[in-house]
């Protein structure tokens, strides 16, 4: 597991896809938030967070993801997660993230869902 979380952004119409690689702690969460807000400012109305290359998200990282989710919800946008390991999926459900954001197994399913929402 990398100590530094890398975040790659891709845009497909109004959907921004952020793909992470590595440990999502406070710094990783802040980098995701920075890129997510930049995408929202540049016109994206939906975000897909693909975590398939991340095996640990700590509770600080999740609290930052919740802030991102709240900002998307404030803008009446959509946010979906995909590629979660069973442990991350379980943790998201413990903290209630799954009540407010959709979780899909694959990126293709997540994109399809938020693009048509």
């Amino acid at each position: 597991m990398s100590e530094v979380c890398r975040v790659a952004a891709e845009r497909r119409g109004n959907v921004a896809i952020l793909s992470t690689d590595g440990y999502i702690n406070n710094q990783g969460g802040e980098e995701i938030a920075r890129q997510a807000y930049a995408q929202l400012e540049s016109g994206a109305s939906a975000l897909v967070l693909n975590l398939e290359k991340t095996r640990i998200v700590n509770s600080i990282g999740i609290s930052i993801l919740i802030e991102v989710l709240e900002k998307v919800m404030d803008r009446k946008g959509q946010l979906a997660f995909c590629g979660l390991t069973p442990t991350i999926d379980k943790t998201f459900r413990i903290m209630g993230l799954a009540q407010y954001a959709a979780i899909y197994p694959t990126e293709a399913e997540a994109i399809r869902a938020v693009a048509t929402a």
Binding site: M1, E3, Y23, N25, R55, I56, V57, N58, S59, I60, I62, S63, I66, E67, E70, T85, P86, T87, K90, T91, I94, M95, G96, L97, Q99, Y100
Partner: protein, 145 residues
């Protein structure tokens, strides 16, 4: 890896209270989990529980020695192998009864986004025992293979 009094095998590790040191601890947990051929998803659960224990200690314990003392133990109980992690700090301790339980409702209303560490540990591990006092805090977490 040495044998303890009960015949369990254990490894000790001491890490400084410093950013990202929890990663060093999780690498050790993974190595010990792999040693007993614990499934990868269960190792991930141990790693995250350990991360949360370390972060809590880093943020709140105010350890007098600026260190976190860890023991990774593998053993067998009723024919079931387990990985046990002991996290000990020599900090100020805390009163478990005074810890406010988090909830998704509080988290999403903006009142309490943090404070999930203990809940996550208890949800991901099979057993969690916490003793805390003026001498510090000891968290003993066990996961069966």
């Amino acid at each position: 890896m040495s044998l303890d009094a009960n015949g369990a095998r254990e490894i000790s590790l001491t890490i400084p209270v410093a950013p990202d040191m929890e990663i060093v601890a999780t690498a050790q947990a993974a190595a010990v989990g792999e040693f007993i051929e614990m499934p990868r998803d269960k190792i991930d659960e141990v790693k995250l529980a350990l991360v949360e224990a370390c972060i809590n200690a880093f943020e709140h314990a105010q350890a007098r020695d600026d260190l976190l003392h860890l023991i990774f133990r593998v053993g067998r109980e009723n024919a079931r192998e387990f990985l046990e992690v002991e996290v000990l700090d020599r900090g100020k301790g805390f009163d478990q009864a005074s810890v406010e339980l988090p909830s998704p409702e509080k988290t999403f209303s903006g009142r309490q986004k943090r404070g999930w560490g203990l809940q996550i540990m208890r949800s991901l591990m099979d057993t969690v025992a916490i003793t805390s006092g003026e001498g510090g805090t000891r968290i003993l977490m066990r996961k069966y293979k």
